[in-house]
Symmetry: C2
Subunit: 118 residues, 2 copies
């Protein structure tokens, strides 16, 4: 995440938003958090196919871009809560439009010639 060999050029808006939400689990995380699931352990249970590690990484990236906010409670066992910032909330309609289009695509077989889902 720090020393890339090939620099990213976030030249256009498209590249920028892809950088922000393009991770494998990021849209899921944003969606989950927007629905009130705040704690890492909850998010992990909601995405059992992802490892804790990756979720943590992608949460950190989202936090870095100002999409979510993190509150650490100084208790034991540790407690952490994430929530969407206003910037993060402004992303919700975008994600919704994307998801809607994708859902339409999925529901409409015959449109996708070589869909080898596996």
């Amino acid at each position: 995440m720090s020393d890339r060999k090939i620099p990213k050029d976030l030249d256009c808006g498209m590249a920028m938003i892809m950088e922000i939400i393009g991770g494998k689990w990021k849209p899921c995380l944003i969606h989950n958090i927007s629905r009130g699931y705040k704690r890492p352990s909850e998010l992990q249970r909601l995405n059992p196919k992802a490892t804790r590690r990756v979720l943590y990484q992608q949460l950190t990236e989202l936090e870095g871009y100002g999409i979510i906010e993190k509150v650490i409670f100084p208790v034991l066992p540790p407690k952490v809560e994430y929530s969407l910032t206003s910037l993060g909330m402004s992303l919700l309609p975008v994600i919704r439009v994307m998801d809607d289009w994708g859902t339409q695509y999925l529901e409409n077989p015959g449109q996708h010639p070589t869909l080898k889902t596996a």
Copy 2:
């Protein structure tokens, strides 16, 4: 593109649209084609940082998902033209919303705490 070790699960719409437009150059290609640039050589000139190979690969994927259509003219030297299908056109507003959000993000510095663009 054929034998992946880890199967993709295109379970939700979000995963589906990411699979379709998630490639590094795909949004650019769709955008370019929507603006009337049809031939591979044109697209290549418009995206000089991408290699011919990658553009060709991503065009093939877009074609496979029914986003663009390819017409091969049986002439020499070879001539090929791509165009958006109606499905591809239905994607334009989605891409536009995404690009708009990203552009807003770029234009609004201070929103992004740890943006290490490099």
